[in-house]
Symmetry: C2
Subunit: 603 residues, 2 copies
């Protein structure tokens, strides 16, 4: 039996049809209404809220756990826990715009792309020069091979006029031949983040970054973090392909949009370099990432993989080239290799440098001219806004900066200056730092009791779902419906995250046998690293205070690395060399790490 | 309106349906009843005879020209000139079995195929050794790359047991991975002749030639010779593909048959090497060969072309390898390169060697240790049985040997000892040689007048369709229905053919500045070269008598070359070297050749 589901989003009304007994989240997904589902619809995260406008049905015990009393009263339910048994009408969260970091540190890049175009004419054969046409083409294009497709094109073109050949210079191979002159040559550097994807459109004739395009990784419907996604696919190649397909589909939309907007033919898009963590790269090419998710965390591949566009279904010129930038290990993906490219290793002579990329995992690289040590810690998603009561990603309205001036006077900044919707990573960091500075928290991370606080402090404290909590913004202060809080549990999440990262740094330093003081530069990569306040990071002891002045925020280093790999084919052998040199330290079996972690959870 | 066409062949009755106005040859072709059509159904050759059993229709003037009076009377018509206007019943020539040369000279071949299999186990990863699975595979297989397909297979296989990898050793690339142990490894050397195709099934683990399979080139329905086929395709890529498709279809049948008969999985067939003249190779991969057919005879390619099986639709393991053996020039194809491989160039120290491959064209190579000269002459199809009044290909019943003992007593031999059906190349050569020796012909190639002949000789002379003719076999002698003759016109065709070849040899010798006496070996390649009587060839001055003792018949040299290329990948660089060394002489613009040709048409 079929039911009607009326869905309101962004002030628009959609009428969907569902079978009796279908799951609401599934129906919404099938109809391209994508909710935030960090847990992948498993009923753990409580994020896929819908407001029921039709007859309200009873709340489940799971929902009572995950929603506030007020929410339940106001008709909120969780889509993943709702079975459709009658016609219904719901309102879902409006689409939110993620503020996606596309900028990265500027690196001088030499221009020498693997795919090039050559415009030439074929010398006409005669009885004194009967050499075959291919030999003539190879002479003009400095190549030794040809693909069948290009050979068939050579057969068909008018050989008396100008021709344009597409050349793979590394293979010295002609991959395409067309009539006429067309030197347009573009490439895409694609940073496939777990949360967000950024495409950089590069003019490979000039090296100019023509435009960027970014979108939320559509795989998020299968889980916010990589492990949820791997769990979703377990044992089903079909589900692995589902992850692949949603990603490629949006990627192709991005390519079309970039081409349209910049008046470029997709046929002149000839190379794509993908960068991302290993799980993203595995799912991108249709591999299960199961072996990465469990000990001993072994990927299927880490090296550069070369593909043809039609092998992935990527809509660029079919004779073009797709490459996956190499990774180091299961948890040091090509995004971190990208970070390594983005900072200039040549400047590491006689200096020690630390690169940290903080997301759900914290990856770090400690290097001087001779040594490269690297490790990854499971920081947890606190700084990504997940598992934090009022946590949000870097969306419009996220509290990104926060200051307690005096006597409870508050200053704060939201992304795009929109009404406050929640707390993102950099905001959370500021809040915790301020709570420490203003004497709300002891160094073990516990809120002081009311009797230990001053009256103005007591006013900002409350209890929320059983946890002692700090009122970040009252509904009045923020002009919103509900207070925004940080609970004792949230503080614990921050402690776990920062403890893991700080402990990882300690292990690397110990491995290199150096102290913090010796560090010359500390590069922070990625969105959180870019937006965080270095001072706050040092106050909460995420980073030691000694390095505050040495912090350099490099932005989207992964994207910068992908662009470098795209523009200059010689980077590949440089990456090979880095990969040879890297010493990866597995923290899960390190007793040093366990010890440091326990210590460094304190502030 | 539809008509019924009843067709008798091989004592079987087929009932076909045709539209009014359709061409009979076309209807037969569409129903897989393939007639001999050297001219490609253009109404020039008179070979596509059918005997009309239903009401006889009037004969056209074209048919009167091409058929004998007796044939017309007996109800023979040409299918290509017959339009279907009513129900009809016809009898067509029974399928004839071509005696296809598959044997070639024995060459010692080292075994080192490009595609190999490796059986191995993956070392299980642990926290002290987290290297990715691909790295482990590469270590065991001595490779550096992997295809996407193989990587996906690696993802799927059970990594704890034995695995079998298929390796492209030249690219150091894993192209396939499967669970279990399977070292079966086979390849096909395929000689694509204009007339016949031979497949050699080779065990690449042992080098053994397991079996052969041969068939008539099905492209013959579009014309017997390459030029007719090119003319058929002119201006139509669809027709080029038609040529390709019929060939690939029969090729795949051959593969299936070889696999079935020898109990081999087609998945264990991993390499195919194709050898053939340039026009065969062009049509094989879907290229028009138009530019080869007209001056300045420029092919699209001559170098080695590498393909994936699915690019050609060849039904071997899809991860396998297809290669086209390189050619020299438009008319010195890879078949001749195969001949060059089949003779041992290393033995050419201080010796001059001539290789001749006679078909519709005569290709020849003159070489010593330092120089390789080559040329091709348009010998015409006389020695292939075409354009000769009673000419046939090397079919069962073809007169292949012929001797005039004395006073008109005749000794002859037909292929497979079947009743005489016509004269094939080697028979024709014998007949002309005998006619010269027995004093029927003067050295200008004219039959003596009756008054110049002895009575027994006069008895064997007659007139046939306006030409003075020699009765090769009377119907009585042969126990057949009609006398078999050689006409004055046939003698002229032989003179054109042998004059062209002899002149080509002269030009090469002049280029090398040597005499016949200096020649150490004369290698005859190909079917005609294999079956001809060297003495007869010298009598008619096709070859100078000085070399009679130096003739070595090497059989299907092209096939031998393909097998070598298949079995030992190092042959490729040797071929590159030969190709660098070769000096190709274009005869069409050579005044020397024209002069020699005029002289050497004489006997």
């Amino acid at each position: 039996m079929e039911h009607q589901v009326i869905v309101w989003q962004n002030n628009e009304r959609k009428v969907l049809t569902a079978d009796k007994g279908q799951n609401l989240l599934e129906v919404l997904y099938q109809n391209d209404t994508l909710l935030d589902t960090p847990c992948g619809g498993q009923g753990h995260c409580g994020k896929c809220k819908v407001k029921v406008l039709s007859t309200l049905f009873p709340v489940s015990s799971k929902e009572e756990e995950l929603l506030s009393e007020k929410e339940v009263e106001n008709g909120f339910r969780l889509a993943c826990l709702t079975t459709i048994t009658a016609d219904m009408e719901v309102k879902v969260e409006d689409d939110v715009e993620l503020d996606i970091l596309t900028e990265g540190i500027n690196q001088e890049i030499d221009l020498d792309s693997e795919i090039k175009k050559v415009i030439f004419e074929i010398e006409e054969p005669n009885l004194d020069d009967q050499r075959d046409f291919l030999t003539r083409v190879q002479e003009k294009t400095n190549t030794k091979r040809i693909t069948l497709k290009a050979l068939q094109q050579l057969d068909q073109v008018d050989k008396r006029g100008s021709l344009t050949a597409v050349i793979n210079t590394a293979r010295q191979e002609v991959v395409g031949i067309k009539t006429g002159k067309n030197n347009q040559l573009y490439g895409i550097a694609a940073d496939i983040g777990t949360t967000t994807v950024v495409l950089y459109l590069i003019d490979l004739n000039t090296g100019a970054e023509v435009d960027t395009y970014s979108f939320n990784n559509p795989q998020k419907i299968f889980g916010a973090d990589v492990i949820s996604r791997v769990n979703y696919t377990l044992g089903s190649q079909r589900k692995v392909e589902e992850l692949q397909e949603v990603l490629i589909r949006e990627f192709n939309d991005g390519i079309l949009s970039l081409a349209d907007k910049n008046e470029i033919e997709t046929d002149d898009l000839l190379t794509v370099i993908f960068v991302g963590n290993t799980i993203m790269l595995h799912t991108l090419i249709g591999l299960s990432a199961e072996s990465i998710a469990k000990a001993p965390y072994t990927p299927i591949f880490t090296e550069e993989i070369e593909l043809k566009p039609n092998q992935l279904g990527v809509n660029i010129n079919s004779t073009g080239l797709i490459k996956l930038l190499p990774s180091i290990s299961g948890y040091i993906g090509s995004d971190i290799v990208g970070d390594m490219l983005a900072v200039n290793f040549n400047s590491f002579v006689d200096s020690w440098n630390l690169i940290i990329d903080i997301g759900t995992n914290g990856e770090m690289v400690l290097a001087n001219q001779d040594n490269i040590y690297t490790c990854a810690t499971a920081a947890g998603p606190a700084f990504e806004g997940a598992k934090i009561t009022f946590g949000v990603a870097g969306i419009s309205g996220a509290i990104a900066e926060y200051k307690i001036i005096e006597q409870g006077k508050i200053e704060y900044q939201t992304i795009n200056n929109q009404p406050a919707k929640g707390i993102c990573g950099s905001g959370l960091l500021d809040i915790v730092a301020e709570l420490l500075t203003a004497g709300f928290l002891n160094n073990k991370g516990a809120f002081y009791k009311d009797e230990e606080l001053e009256p103005w402090q007591q006013e900002r404290m409350t209890e929320y779902r059983g946890f002692r909590s700090y009122i970040v913004l009252t509904a009045d202060e923020a002009g919103i419906e509900e207070d925004i809080l940080v609970t004792q549990k949230d503080i614990r999440e921050v402690q776990l995250a920062k403890g893991a990262i700080a402990a990882g740094i300690e292990v690397l330093l110990k491995k290199a046998n150096i102290d913090y003081e010796i560090l010359d530069n500390l590069y922070l990569a990625g969105g959180f690293g870019n937006y965080l306040d270095p001072h706050s990071a040092c106050v909460i002891n995420l980073l030691p205070e000694e390095v505050e002045e040495k912090i350099i925020q490099i932005g989207n280093g992964a994207g910068v690395g992908a662009k470098m790999y795209l523009m200059d084919q010689r980077i590949a052998s440089y990456v090979d060399q880095l990969r040879e040199q890297v010493d990866y330290i597995e923290l899960s079996s390190s007793s040093d790490f366990q010890k440091e972690f326990m210590n460094l959870m304190e502030f």
